[in-house]
């Protein structure tokens, strides 16, 4: 068995290194971007976080914005897992593994983003229960560390078990992995709610401190996540022998459309609350949407995001347009970018502006921050590529254990 496991991993790595010229160009560019990220991070390590655009006023920036957004992407894998394993929809069973791959890579990005955001990363061991001092259950950040790592473990274990079984030419025993699937469905909701509570639990920041934040996080995640998966699936369909059923695409597209509609309704009610009778607590929203006392760095961004969001949601709601594959792809990318801006910079940064005692200091990321962020995004894509490559190899049967290894 150990021998087989070793072969599985070795074959997996070898398989990931096989491919067309285009595939290699893709891998090499990702590695180059990761290199840029590592270089930028080395600057940040030696100089400290002063090389970022963050200040005592805006103390979280690009890193935590991306962290927040990608937690949502990780959670959205559940939209493939739910129909595949729980409703036993055969079309989805095949693509569920891709969803789990997306979850794993998104989580790796999330954990990297939080780590690069730390001022003293060499002390992360303080977070390990018993060894350090884990402030659980008080700190929502402690919860987040817990649920993110748990979800990562689940999303590594389940596909590993299934793929390893297929690799040996066996069917995976559903009885064995089903409890974990069930757990991971709840866990997916949990990671996103907990991340929302990280913000919603701070009375100091009225912009975040509202009950709608959690549900809205979920709605936007279930729009952006499946949109992202849809794009990945059609890339695979186009570039590999892994053909995706049209039914899967149209069902997922429906999920995206409905989630985007719900998200828009919630956005509307938030905007109503902030602007029908603006109070002292609406200053952040005013800053975000219209600018405050001449400071308006985020205004163009949020309006771009909102227009893209509205257009994409409206068009996705029209059956005919959604059924057209090319248009669907365009809309998915548009929605993804819109929510990225809105859930990332559009949520995190204005929470800090104005400061709790009314001062306005704006934020914009520095080159170092952008470099590190790009590196992490590239790293996530690399993980995704390798995982998906191996999964597809196994599922298509091009990559199986030889009988002699299997004994």
């Amino acid at each position: 068995m150990t021998n087989l496991l070793f072969h599985f991993i070795k074959d997996g790595i070898l398989h990931a290194l096989k491919g067309s010229k285009l595939y290699f160009t893709w891998l090499i560019s990702l590695v180059a971007l990761i290199g840029i990220g590592v270089f930028a991070y080395s600057i940040q390590i030696s100089e400290g976080l002063k090389v970022t655009g963050m200040t005592d006023h805006v103390s979280w920036g690009l890193y935590i914005s991306n962290f927040t957004f990608f937690v949502g992407i990780a959670a959205a894998a559940v939209m493939l897992i739910l129909p595949a394993y729980i409703f036993n929809d055969a079309d989805f069973t095949k693509v569920a593994l891709i969803g789990e791959g997306v979850a794993v890579s998104a989580l790796i990005m999330c954990l990297s983003f939080v780590t690069v955001d730390l001022g003293s990363p060499e002390k992360v061991w303080h977070l390990i229960p018993k060894l350090g001092y884990f402030n659980w259950p008080n700190s929502m950040l402690a919860w987040d560390v817990l649920v993110l790592n748990g979800y990562l473990a689940l999303n590594l274990l389940i596909p590993f078990y299934i793929l390893f079984s297929h690799y040996r030419g066996k069917e995976a025993n559903k009885k064995k992995y089903f409890p974990f699937i069930l757990l991971s469905v709840f866990w997916a909701i949990a990671i996103h709610l907990v991340t929302a509570f990280l913000y919603a639990g701070l009375p100091a920041r009225p912009f975040w401190n509202n009950a709608l934040l959690g549900p809205r996080f979920l709605a936007s995640a279930f729009a952006a996540g499946p949109a992202f998966i849809l794009v990945i699936l059609s890339v695979l369909d186009y570039s590999t022998g892994f053909k995706i059923q049209k039914r899967v695409i149209s069902k997922l597209a429906l999920v995206v459309a409905i989630a985007a509609q719900i998200n828009l309704i919630m956005l509307g009610s938030e905007i109503f609350k902030e602007f029908y009778h603006p109070t002292e607590h609406s200053s952040s929203a005013i800053y975000l949407f219209f600018g405050l006392h001449g400071h308006s760095a985020l205004v163009p961004w949020i309006w771009t995001a909102i227009s893209m969001n509205i257009i994409a949601t409206l068009m996705l709601s029209i059956h005919k347009l959604r059924e057209n594959h090319k248009i669907l792809m365009g809309l998915c990318i548009m929605l993804f970018l819109a929510i990225w801006i809105e859930k990332g910079m559009g949520l995190v940064v204005p929470g800090f502006i104005p400061s709790p005692i009314g001062e306005i200091v704006e934020y914009s990321p520095t080159l170092v921050e952008v470099g590190i962020t790009t590196g992490i995004l590239a790293g996530g894509m690399l993980v995704l590529t390798v995982l998906v490559k191996v999964a597809i190899g196994i599922e298509l049967g091009t990559f199986r254990s030889d009988a002699k290894d299997a004994n």
Partner: protein, 354 residues
């Protein structure tokens, strides 16, 4: 060199003195096979605390770490590294693997304080005096600020920076003085960036800093418990335990916290050498800090630097549990208010007017 010799030598190098007083220990360096010429002139001085004691799991890691450090330091012996480097390495390792201050025994607290003093000496040639004076029973510190007296001179700000060894490069300040329009108590419309002659007709002045909330949101959120409320009510940060996530900074409703975005710079001659572990000792890069009610002074019965520096007498500090204290008199007899009472944070910082 045979393996047995090497092992023997490492073992003897690890035989440090257990006490932290800088006792000298004779190294076996010259008695063994290393020729005397490659040894430093003085026998190496080694100071270590983690060895030969009952250890917890964490300390065991520290020990392993310290062991590596020491082994490295030892092998460096023949490379003519001076004793200071060895001291630095060993001490830094032990410092790195120490516990959260709250979980330390009194003895461990004493040891880390000694190590910090020693490190300041060998690293930066600073002679500092770090205290670990605990809170006194029957003491709960509180603060009152008279907004009719303050003229906005900001002498307090300057005194605070000097007293608490704040980073001069980023011009870090714990205290903000807001210039406010008469008739408007809304802090958010105040201006803390004024640089004109004060006082200005029609304005009044209001200072903010960390309010040492009784129900402090900054404490709840810290994932590693690096910040807490001491028995005398002072909210402190363990600079060596903070991982720099800045969640507490986001959670503070009064903008009371400051982060070391770079390594703090303080000219040697301006360093305040009277320090406290939880107070004004030098902070590292990437950790949180804040006002500590001048814990290094107030636990010795002195007033905070800002109170001493204020020329107008707007600032009052004292023991809330002492019925005869001035602060109690103010709270009982003046019309006092606190900022953002609706948040339920219970700041121990009251404003009042005459």
């Amino acid at each position: 060199m045979r393996l047995k010799d090497l092992r023997h030598k490492i073992m003897s190098a690890l035989k440090y003195d257990r006490s932290l007083a800088s006792k000298e220990i004779k190294s076996d360096c010259h008695s063994d096979s290393i020729p005397p010429t490659t040894c430093p002139k003085n026998p190496p001085k080694m100071v270590g605390g983690a060895f030969g004691k009952k250890t917890s799991r964490r300390a065991a890691i520290g020990l392993a770490g310290g062991g590596v450090g020491a082994a490295f330091a030892f092998s460096a012996c023949s490379n003519m590294l001076d004793e200071e480097t060895k001291d630095k390495l060993g001490l830094s390792w032990e410092e790195f693997f120490k516990k959260n201050y709250r979980l330390m025994t009194d003895q461990e607290k004493g040891e880390t304080v000694k190590r910090i003093e020693k490190l300041a000496k060998v690293k930066n040639n600073e002679i500092i005096n770090v205290s670990d004076t605990p809170a006194k029973d029957g003491v709960l510190f509180g603060y009152a600020f008279n907004i009719s007296k303050c003229q906005g001179y900001m002498d307090c700000v300057e005194a605070c920076v000097k007293e608490n060894n704040q980073d001069r490069e980023s011009n870090m300040q714990y205290i903000n003085i807001f210039e406010m329009e008469n008739g408007n108590l809304n802090i958010e419309s105040g201006n803390s960036k004024y640089s004109h002659e004060v006082p200005v007709e029609g304005k009044f002045y209001l200072g903010t800093q960390c309010f040492h909330c009784e129900k402090a949101p900054c404490i709840e959120v810290c994932p590693v418990g690096a910040t807490w409320k001491e028995p005398d009510g002072i909210v402190v940060v363990d600079y060596d335990w903070c991982i720099g996530c800045r969640y507490c900074e986001a959670a503070c409703p009064y903008w009371g916290r400051r982060f070391n975005w770079g390594a703090p710079q303080i000219p040697n001659e301006e360093l305040n050498t009277e320090q406290h572990y939880l107070g004004n000792r030098k902070r590292g890069k990437g950790v949180m800090e804040k006002c500590t009610f001048c814990i290094q002074r107030t636990r010795k019965g002195l007033q905070p630097a800002c109170v001493d520096a204020c020329p107008t007498g707007s600032r009052t500090f004292g023991n809330l549990l002492d019925p005869n204290s001035e602060i109690r008199y103010i709270i009982e007899n003046k019309k006092v208010f606190r900022l953002k009472e609706d948040l339920g944070t219970e700041p121990k910082f009251w404003y009042y007017m005459d």
